[in-house]
């Protein structure tokens, strides 16, 4: 219904502002409604201002900046409404080392409200996890699970 969407949208856009500032220190991210008069059909836009840069359309962001902005929205929603679990399959592939660090730190806070399962090749993200599952195909073509020790 209209009221529920309006209430959810308000809460998620507040949460998005906070999360965005954590992932883009010095930057500002806002959600905007494309048609405020019609809450049942309006779209949701994203306006981003990165430190020192002009206000820009999300389409102009770089590969890594797009991943990070998307993660900000996903985390913002989960902080507002925790889910039974959050599964992220190699979402950190385009991030540089600095941004992987910011992402991994924030993920620890998300894990306080939702179970987090993350597939990654990034050592920094592995270090943030409390529990590691290793998958191998020792006998070719058949997957098995093995214990993994980070060192």
């Amino acid at each position: 219904s209209r009221e529920r969407f309006a209430e959810t949208y308000q809460a998620v856009s507040r949460s998005f502002r906070h999360v965005f500032a954590r992932l883009f220190p010095g930057g500002k991210g806002e959600l905007l409604l494309t048609d405020e008069e019609n809450l049942l059909e309006t779209g949701v836009d994203m306006e981003i201002r990165l430190p020192g840069k002009r206000l820009q359309n999300v389409g102009l962001l770089s590969g890594g900046e797009k991943s990070l902005a998307a993660l900000a929205l996903i985390m913002a929603i989960v902080f507002y409404k925790p889910t039974p679990f959050l599964v992220l399959d190699e979402v950190d592939a385009a991030l540089d080392d600095g941004n992987v660090g910011l992402f991994a730190d924030l993920l620890k806070e998300v894990a306080a409200v939702s179970q987090v399962i993350v597939v990654t090749h990034n050592k920094r993200t592995m270090e943030a996890a409390g529990h590691l599952y290793g998958v191998t195909m020792e006998s070719k073509g058949v997957s098995k699970i093995v214990a993994v020790d980070l060192n």
């Binding site: 679990f85 599964v87 399959d89 399962i117 073509g141």
Partner: protein, 169 residues
């Protein structure tokens, strides 16, 4: 609710029974290219009722059953089971409000016969969908992000982004 355990057998490259316990916090799944990590993510979407074959990276649903290797013949069945526990202060939706745990499972045979069950009792796809409704993890929810699709949320049209937020309403 929270995910406690996942059991997979005969699904994609998981020929032998696999049990994954999730102790809370962050669990990382790691391993070389092609070893089966994303197959685990597919298994989770599948048990929750995913019907779109393309989003399981296949062309026919029976391709999710272990297809065999040079050493092993193909399997005749795939089965995935998910065990969910209650989080303090929350209850499961009716008729499971009094349960401490709920088990959701899905089975597929090569002849096409497919079976859903909740707590061991056969049920319809609709019952599974209703169980996960509004939790964010349903098959179009915001809580499962597939490989190489994280940026889609930013590149999506504003109307599609709205659907993400609606799921949380």
């Amino acid at each position: 609710m929270i995910l406690k355990r996942l059991e997979i057998v005969g699904f994609k490259s998981f020929r032998d029974r696999l049990v994954l316990d999730f102790p809370g916090g962050i669990s990382a799944i790691v391993g070389p290219n092609g070893c089966g990590k994303s197959n685990i993510v597919d298994a989770m979407r599948w048990v929750m009722g995913e019907q779109r074959v393309r989003s399981l990276r296949s062309t026919k649903m029976e391709e999710v059953i272990f297809a065999g290797t040079q050493d092993y013949p193909p399997m005749g069945m795939a089965e995935v089971t998910m065990i969910l526990a209650r989080r303090e202060g929350f209850t499961f939706p009716e008729p499971y409000a009094s349960c401490e745990e709920v088990t959701v499972s899905r089975r597929l045979f090569r002849d096409g016969e497919s079976l859903y069950a909740i707590n061991g009792v056969p049920c319809r796809l609709l019952d599974v969908r209703e169980f996960f409704m509004g939790t964010g993890v349903g098959s179009r929810g915001y809580a499962i992000i597939e490989q190489s699709s994280v940026a889609d949320l930013v590149e999506a049209r504003p109307e599609d982004r709205r659907v993400f937020i609606e799921e949380a309403a």
